[in-house]
Symmetry: C2
């Protein structure tokens, strides 16, 4: 069965924006879904809104899930600082404090709920195992396990029409994602990867990347290694 409608998890960062662009390129009616989980970098939700508009998503939903009430991560607790100035080679070894407990499980479960309601055939998620921050829920074996959950725990699965869980960036380097993003017309300057962004410099501009957190390091490295001009505004 060829997919015709998809739910695309859209955080507002480079990877998920590229993922949305892929779904649109694949000819799907792409419904973007962002999760407001109480993240420190809430500005990414505004970035997601802009990206969804530019890339002609069929719709854009923001679903609230209060993970801040649980805490346990630099991204959901003000008591834990976002690590800065780590060397790129440090990133991805061990699980950093920016890991949000079970975040991708939570996000994929909400995406599964949305896909069930919208009768979508596919779910797109922009996880990336190669240039990742070392999160357990970005690994291929995790996605494979979630695929079984989405098949066994839903009406569509019972009806023999399971969702096609697609992670098209899984095996790409950040450089590969940067190239792909530009080739697909992703409004890169509008995307926000930073965990600890600064306010926008103009009322219509995007939030400013700190330039020092792991997400900024990986983003910078991607453009540099791809030999592409990086359109991002970094503070540091």
């Amino acid at each position: 069965m060829s997919a015709r409608r998809a739910v695309v998890l859209l955080s507002g960062g480079l990877d998920s924006a590229t993922c949305l662009a892929i779904a649109v390129r694949d000819g799907l009616e792409a419904h973007a879904l962002s999760v407001d989980y109480g993240q420190r970098h809430r500005a990414e939700l505004e970035a997601a809104r802009r990206v969804a508009t530019v890339l002609h998503a069929a719709s854009h939903r923001v679903v609230k899930v209060d993970l801040r009430s649980l805490g346990g991560s630099a991204l959901t607790s003000d008591a834990i600082e976002v690590p800065k100035d780590r060397a790129p080679e440090e990133i991805g070894h061990g699980i950093p404090v920016s890991y949000v407990p079970a975040r991708n499980t939570v996000m994929l479960s909400v995406a599964t709920a949305a896909a069930e309601v919208l009768d979508a055939d596919a779910i797109y998620v922009g996880v990336n195992a190669l240039d990742s921050s070392g999160y357990p829920d970005c690994r291929p074996e995790f996605l494979e396990a979630f695929r079984a959950v989405a098949r066994l725990g839903t009406r569509r699965g019972v009806e023999g029409r399971p969702f096609d869980l697609r992670a098209p960036l899984l095996a790409l380097s950040k450089a590969g994602i940067a190239k792909l993003a530009l080739s697909l017309g992703v409004p890169v300057a509008e995307t926000l990867s930073c965990y600890d962004p600064l306010p926008a410099r103009s009322p219509v501009g995007p939030a400013v990347h700190c330039g020092r957190c792991d997400a900024c390091s990986l983003r910078r490295k991607g453009f540099r290694e791809a030999g592409l001009a990086d359109p991002t505004t970094y503070e540091g």
Copy 2:
């Protein structure tokens, strides 16, 4: 490894309350977790609060997850009526409109997040496959698949200390659950199973069960088949 701390999903109904009582009986430090997902029967959250107190849960959290913004179920959309007066033998055949898309996946994912933050060894969930409403996400094969997700997508799993996902009611009949509940001191009259409850009759009393939805039918049938007096207040 023997478990010492658990997260217990507590809706406030008979099954999850019994599940909490089992975790306490098993000697665990039991942290109750309720999910406010925009359910029509929000009164169950108040029931959960009372049950957690009576059963001496170590803590009780209510985490908001806005599934009402997605709709698609009689329990999260005012546009879909809760089915009433179905014969007990009708219940469990096919998936009813009270099915909330991917609800147990969402709840278990939040429980996994909480277990990760609390460093809990076990997650208890009161799903029941025998006298269930016919929901796909109450089946043993779904739970088995989620077990893999919780192992592969978390820090504890990576560290070789995966959560023990326990569903002690899975193979029990509703009659068996009713018996167990009473033997464990569950405050049955305080629990709320109903999908469409009426207001409490006194300021300190529990909400009144409609007596006509599938959840009420299964609850009544359980006490009747167990030969036990049913302490529930039903309207119809």
